[in-house]
């Protein structure tokens, strides 16, 4: 048969719930589905916090998703997971295309929370995260400040990713306001340190007067920094980038990278999971029967805000 013309037509199963008995808790399972599941940043922030939460609450947590950045594969995983009826789903909002999968989960009565980037077109119960457009803006502002509003800048990341392209837009929107800033190019470092380093080296050769470079994926920073260091231009060529892995922090401390636009990824998953838990356990009843009332009892959208990491505060992030 043909697909429904609009999701309203879909028969919704009642949101699955559970009581607080330890027995119930023991066989509750909260599943996180992301993509590039083994990307260190994800492992050390999102997934670490999610696991900690699970241990604290005494419930089972699982993390699933393809090894590489592969949205269709993430969708496949979500749809396969739905069949196994987890207690709650925590989904990395990698691309608007996962909206349908999310709706399927919701229709199946599985509490579903999206984190990192929002999927407004979906019927997700809640979203926690940041707006990549803002990450772009933040980098733009900082870079403009660092180079005194004039000079050549370039930026790199993974081209074609929805959230990253938002970031690029934010960055460029800022630069638009600085007529003396010349954007010499947008580059695809394929989330690969060597490529980022190679591109940067080439850039520095092409533009000896390069003022600054912005990076948008977690491998951009180390790569750019490496090439800038090797060209002996650490400090003179300004670098702003995303994420705050140990490597990034070290480079900030060394003064090679000037600013990191970090996300509070731990909060995404910790509170995301908590939202799921509260929905399942109806921790906060807002009405006689929230399900019938057609309301859900967790925040709709949460902006966790950004971290601004610079030489000043980097020491607080470096682990002893």
């Amino acid at each position: 048969e043909l697909p429904p013309r609009d999701q309203a037509g879909v028969t919704q199963q009642a949101l699955q719930t559970s009581d607080d008995s330890d027995a119930a808790l023991a066989n509750e399972e909260y599943v996180m589905v992301t993509t590039a599941v083994s990307m260190p940043m994800y492992v050390n922030h999102d997934q670490a916090a999610f696991k900690r939460w699970g241990e604290k609450m005494g419930v089972k947590t699982s993390i699933l998703g393809p090894a590489d950045w592969d949205v269709p594969a993430q969708i496949n995983t979500i749809e396969e997971v739905i069949g196994t009826r987890p207690t709650g789903l925590l989904i990395n909002g990698t691309d608007p295309a996962i909206a349908q999968a999310i709706d399927k989960a919701v229709a199946a009565g599985i509490p579903t929370v999206v984190y990192d980037s929002d999927i407004p077109s979906s019927r997700r119960h809640a979203f926690l995260g940041t707006n990549w457009y803002e990450i772009g803006r933040m980098q733009g502002e900082e870079m403009a400040r660092l180079i005194g509003g004039k000079g050549k800048v370039a930026y790199m990341g993974i081209l074609g990713l929805n959230n990253m392209e938002d970031g690029f837009r934010g960055l460029l929107d800022v630069f638009k306001r600085y007529p003396n800033i010349e954007v010499v190019g947008k580059f695809d470092d394929k989330a690969n340190v060597e490529t980022a380093a190679r591109l940067t080296a080439d850039l520095l050769a092409a533009h000896p007067d390069m003022a600054g470079i912005c990076g948008f994926d977690s491998n951009s920073g180390p790569g750019i920094a490496l090439a800038v260091k090797e060209a002996g231009k650490a400090g003179t060529v300004k670098i702003t980038t995303v994420d705050w892995e140990p490597e990034h922090l070290r480079l900030v401390k060394e003064g090679v990278i000037q600013m990191l636009a970090g996300q509070k990824r731990e909060l995404f998953t910790w509170y995301g999971a908590q939202f799921l838990y509260d929905m399942v356990h109806r921790t906060n009843k807002l009405s006689g029967n929230d399900a019938l009332a057609g309301i859900n009892s967790v925040p709709n959208t949460v902006n966790t805000g950004l971290l601004r990491i610079t030489k000043e505060n980097v020491n607080q992030f470096l682990l002893p």
Binding site: Q47, W69, A97, G160, L161
Partner: protein
């Protein structure tokens, strides 16, 4: 006779696959052997399988194509672009998308078969070019595709989503054609011994050209199905698909040296890989364990079915393989 069978990858792999199913059904009785799960499983591998059929044909004739993944993204992206930004009617947009795929296949085929450019370099270069094109047309992704376009991939038949049926159709059709038409039989000769094929009056170059066009077209079809299934076109679709598909096809009995392989093998290979990842989802394996275990299972599977083949080969007393180091290719080619 049993030996005959055991020497044919299609059968040995079927055995291995069944084995895997039985085991996991025993371990996860509640979640694995359910209609939903298999429906989903098949849906998820249908796209790869369709591309794999084309790839199988290429490998039978001794070549391969790394650009299929990019073609999936480009063809889908192009028609989405036309429909959304230029309101081109659905059928026209689809034709345009498929047309672009045909063109890409033609260029690959022409440069490889007639200009003698190395297939790996040619298709790798094309993979980059077309990926660039995909970024051009799909940019950060295109949503809100026309309803009727989405209907292609999202409607269901007997509770199973269409792509699965299309896959079945493609596999069945090509299995039949390759077994029963002179035209497709020729590919085995080309892969078996290109010179001898040429001297037997087979137009090797032209046939290769066709093969590339065909596989690109199937990739195009896959692109349509994937985008309509997602209801969106992403420029990153089909990334890494080429390697996945080639692996599936080789698992399914093809060889990089050409001349061997059967169409159902393509489906089987894809099915096997789909099963493995499905089981890992069900078993909640993830993180680096996922990659490690996937790798191990792959090796073990191939090893098992080599063992099967070797044992039957030994019983059949095939020439001691020491000379050309034992290879699945060596045996079980006669169909």
């Amino acid at each position: 006779m049993l030996n005959q069978i055991l020497r044919d990858r299609v059968y040995t792999l079927t055995l291995t696959t069944l084995l895997l199913c039985i085991v996991s059904a025993a371990v996860f009785p509640a979640t694995f052997p359910t209609f939903e799960n298999f429906r989903q499983l098949l849906l998820n591998l249908s796209i790869d399988a369709i591309v794999a059929v084309g790839m199988m044909l290429l490998l039978i004739s001794g070549v391969f194509d790394l650009s299929v993944g990019s073609v999936v993204a480009f063809a889908g992206g192009l028609s989405a672009h036309l429909m959304v930004f230029y309101n081109v009617p659905v059928p026209v947009a689809i034709l345009a998308g498929l047309g672009s795929a045909v063109l890409i296949g033609w260029i690959n085929g022409y440069l490889i078969a007639y200009q003698g450019i190395n297939p790996l370099i040619q298709t790798l270069a094309m993979m980059g070019i077309v990926r660039g094109g995909a970024l051009m047309v799909a940019g950060a992704g295109i949503q809100n595709l026309p309803y009727w376009y989405n209907a292609i991939g999202q409607s269901k038949l007997l509770g199973v989503q269409m792509p699965v049926w299309y896959m079945g159709l493609v596999v069945a059709a090509f299995t039949f054609l390759v077994n029963r038409t002179v035209f497709f039989r020729r590919y085995y000769y080309i892969g078996g011994n290109e010179q001898a094929a040429e001297l037997s009056g087979i137009r090797v170059r032209r046939m290769k050209l066709y093969a590339f066009i065909l596989s690109a077209t199937l990739a195009g079809v896959a692109g349509m199905l994937l985008t309509s299934r997602l209801g969106a076109a992403l420029s990153t679709l089909g990334r890494g698909m080429e390697l996945r598909v080639i692996t599936a096809v080789i698992l399914g009995g093809a060889s990089l040296t050409g001349g061997v392989g059967k169409i159902p093998g393509a489906l089987l290979g894809a099915l096997f890989m789909g099963l493995v990842s499905n089981i890992m989802v069900i078993a909640r394996v993830s993180g680096y364990w996922q990659e490690i275990i996937l790798g191990l299972i792959l090796i073990i599977a191939v090893w098992i079915d080599l063992a099967l083949q070797r044992r039957s080969a030994v019983r059949q007393g095939l020439p001691r393989k020491s000379v050309n180091t034992p290879s699945p290719e060596g045996v079980g080619i006669e169909k």
